[in-house]
């Protein structure tokens, strides 16, 4: 659209909806700044006042008492390692599947597509046992499990894209004496860059927020990712400190919002690319 139309009514309606849309997050934000006694079931709607203002104490409590920084670290390690591994291995695999295109690679491709529909409950018990047996039950090895379970989506996205790349460039490079690994790193990766970003975003959104898989695979006493920590404190019996709880939710949301605002364009393009390929 070259010239933007002015339609005050539509803009006003959409603005009102947008403000309502953000209200749940705002509610948690101002409750995270209130004193414990002011966060009651029906008192959540009152804004912090001079009396109930608690400053950043809830955040400090969340970080110190709940060991939230450690959870943040585990979430970060698991997400980054898993996503890097998924991108590297699955793009290689997709290139092979498309170029070799034999019966076996086709079969593997269809298995990957199939794995995307299967609900996690189907494999949760046996997967946790397998992970224990193979000692994949700590934050530094769990990325292998994520590679296995996340391969479906990534292989699917990458094969869709590799199919559209003309063969000639790779052929010319091989004739010039490049090894397949050189062709992959120096030719394929630069061409695949947009898909790599899209897939990275989709997989990152999944791994960062994943709750059930790490809960079943990791030892909850030693390692807690952010979703695990939130559920552990809120879901455990006994008195729950609402202030630090609200602060923990904000500590989870704030980095997400920052990353979102910075790479908004890529995230939205990633979602569209994922849907179109799907």
């Amino acid at each position: 659209m070259e010239n933007k139309k002015k339609n005050p009514l539509a803009t006003i309606i959409l603005s009102v909806i947008s403000i309502l849309w953000m209200y749940p997050i705002a509610l948690i934000l101002f409750n995270s700044l209130k004193k414990e006694s002011a966060i009651t079931t029906s008192g959540v709607f009152s804004l912090p006042t001079g009396e109930t203002w608690n400053g950043l104490k809830n955040f400090v409590a969340s970080v110190t008492q709940m060991d939230f920084l450690k959870s943040f670290w585990f979430s970060l390690v698991i997400s980054v390692m898993s996503v890097v591994l998924i991108l590297l291995c699955c793009s290689m695999c997709a290139w092979y599947i498309v170029r070799v295109n034999g019966k076996l690679s086709k079969a593997f491709y269809y298995l990957c597509v199939f794995s995307m529909v299967v609900p996690f409950q189907m494999v949760m018990f046996t997967l946790a046992k397998t992970a224990d047996t193979l000692k994949l039950n700590n934050p530094y090895n769990i990325c292998i499990i994520y590679l296995g379970f996340g391969a479906g989506l990534a292989v699917f996205m990458f094969t869709g894209f590799v199919k559209g790349i003309p063969l000639e460039i790779e052929e010319a490079a091989l004739i010039d004496g490049c090894s397949p690994l050189q062709v992959y790193f120096q030719i394929l990766i630069p061409i695949l860059k947009p898909t790599i970003i899209s897939t990275a975003i989709l997989e990152l959104m999944w791994v960062w927020n994943d709750y059930l898989l790490p809960t079943l695979v990791l030892d909850i006493k030693k390692y807690r990712t952010i979703p695990m920590a939130v559920q552990y404190f809120r879901g455990s019996f006994g008195h729950v400190q609402m202030g630090p709880m609200m602060a923990s939710i904000m500590i989870d949301i704030i980095p997400i919002i920052i990353v979102y605002l910075v790479c908004q364009k890529h995230i939205i393009e990633g979602v569209v690319a994922g849907a179109v390929k799907g």
Partner: protein, 284 residues
Amino acid sequence: MVGKTIKKWWPVFVLPTLAAFIIGFLWPFIWGIYLSFCKFTTVQDVTFVGFSNYAKLMLDKSFSYSFWLTVVFAFVSSILINVLAFTIALALTKGFRGTNVFRTVFFMPNLIGGIVLGYIWQTLLNGLLSKWGQPLLALSAKNGFIGMLILLMWQQIGYMMIIYVAGLNNVSPDLIEAAQIDGATSRQILFKIKIPMIMPSVTICTFLTLTNGFKMFDQNLSLTGGAPGKQSQLLALNIYDTFYARSGPMWKGIGQAKAVVFFILVVAIALIQLKATSSKEVQQ
């Protein structure tokens, strides 16, 4: 020639993914199907019992209750999310000022994880319910169900909206202009041109919302935890509960059998839906 050269490089290119795929999906999947025919508490004391787990799960009332609750939930949420997401997408493709800001705002909830979402909405909805003198989420199955619907709508409308916006932007303006010259009303343009042209987006959005509705777990666990009793327990949570919250030697086998039924249900619905909506897609 590329294929021939890289074929013998499979240990580098395919093996890592393949090995992880077998560990992380294929082996647990096959083992899971086998265990659904067994009685077990740990993996050491497995005895084969044939179809008895499947017979027993038919008698488990909580399962059939969760089954139908999930079916209703998935369909209702899918319809609501798609209709609202499409409406917002239509409004945002009219070329008003500030569409980018609105798009950014509507999409944001999608990035927040299910557990945290559940607690955000629990705080908000319980606050509202107690203000209105209504039973809280954990005390009323109806409120819990509506709460889960609202939560899932808040989470997913933005995602589906993005897909619809992309679809609508791809509809050629020439086509619409031609229709306008022929005297089509804006209603006719919507139903005769825009909707048929974006059927691929409808297919993918219905697929995503339906499968997400069926598989919903985290949000269910944190928003209501299945309370009161098991009356807001969707299938995924029911299976988890059967595995890890019920004592007794037979429950793990039954849980695994439930998971197999659940898996067949999701695959069947996905296939039927893909067939139904993709047959309506027009060739562009």
